[in-house]
Symmetry: C2
DNA sequence: CGTTAAACGCTACTACTGTAGCGATAAAAT
DNA sequence: ATTTTATCGCTACAGTAGTAGCGTTTAACG
């Protein structure tokens, strides 16, 4: 039940007699392994990313990597956690379409320029840790993005009763579909196009419940 | 350039001196391997599907399987080709929303009940053959579904100039996003919900160019 | 028929995955 | 400073992925 992530974790359940020791050596091992994994991913791509390679690049022993992260998905999940700062806030441009466009530009960049995101998606089909990390990441982002919808409702841009989650997924899902699943040719103004469609749909009440 | 699929293929380029021999033995080997792969997939799931298992179940030698299909993605691509009958036609229920709902029910069933589709998507991240097969499959389906949009435009249900592809992707992408990428809890009336949103959006002109 | 070579079966090898057991190291507590 | 034990390094092992080389079978064709 307890999170298997052995990072600097103060939120350990006090009930268990377990004593964590995230001190000097463990932290250094984690740092070396994550750095090596990220470097390998950036330099040689997801297909080249194996536990053995990470072990060799980092100097951390293979069995230690297996013990702490279990598989590549676990490593990527840890990298994601570290990278996705909790301070992230949704954009606020003054209009629904502007906000959705800004979000989509971030998604687009993540799917075309950042190898971690796509690698994590790929790994999520083979690693439960990666799948869970991704679910958590997306849940957090969609939750915070609900503010965008709330503002649009308050200023009367879209009807009350608009379902934030449905609208946000409608605004981003086509990007994932085109770029990740269909691997279509990247169209630089796809973000705007999809965001505009979603905003128009929302104004027409396409995402109101009942 | 020539398709590496050694099936009953009459469309071999006559320029090459290559002589295909899809006769008795090769056809039997293919049949046995595909049957074994599908049976294994249905009975024990994607994670259990390996070349070695297929070889053992089918009696076809491992090296032969590797030679003909290269990896699991190749096997799944071949299975998809065989299963996706070319006679498929988009539904025609009389309304845009009805058609989109019908399509979405097929997609939903494919993603929840049919192990081949999800397996192929998973394999597409590790196998170029699987990715290519999926691209082709989707391209064919979206092309044919353009009829749905055409009919809706002709009867004045949605504005002229509506981009068929954008509309169709808006109508289906959320399903893939929820079920494949986010692995959300399956909601039985998600197909209708998403189809209705897309139809409403289309009527509001959300997918018109310029 | 007999000939030819595509496709198959077999052995052997390298590389990666994942785990078990045990001793060594060092972080935390006394 | 000493003790405790979480964590790490190491060896060894079994299983899977993927390829190379070579001999055999058999489909296709004259």
């Amino acid at each position: 039940m307890a999170s298997p992530r052995p990072t600097i974790d103060l939120s350990d359940e006090p009930g268990t007699g377990r004593v964590r020791r995230p001190g000097g050596r463990s932290a250094a091992v984690r740092r070396r392994a994550l750095d090596a994994a990220l470097a390998q991913l950036v330099q040689h791509g997801y297909d080249s990313l194996s536990i053995d390679v990470v072990a060799e690049r980092s100097g951390v022993h293979r069995t230690t990597v297996y013990r702490r992260w279990r598989d590549i998905g676990g490593l990527l999940a840890d990298i994601l956690d570290e990278a996705s700062v909790d301070a992230w806030r949704p954009p606020d441009t003054g209009s629904l379409e502007g906000d959705l466009t800004a979000v989509n530009h971030e998604v687009y960049a993540a799917l075309t320029a950042d190898p971690v995101t796509v690698a994590l998606i790929a790994a999520s089909f083979r690693s439960e840790q990666a799948a869970e990390a991704l679910r958590g990441f997306w849940a957090g982002r969609y939750d915070r993005c609900a503010d965008i919808v709330r503002r649009a409702v308050e200023c009367g841009e879209i009807p009350a009763g608009t379902d934030a989650r449905r609208l946000l997924i409608a605004a981003t899902a086509p990007l994932y579909h085109e770029l990740v699943l269909m691997r279509a040719a990247t169209d630089a103004h796809l973000p705007e196009l999809v965001a505009r469609s979603a905003a128009t749909a929302a104004r027409a009440g396409a995402f109101t419940n009942r």
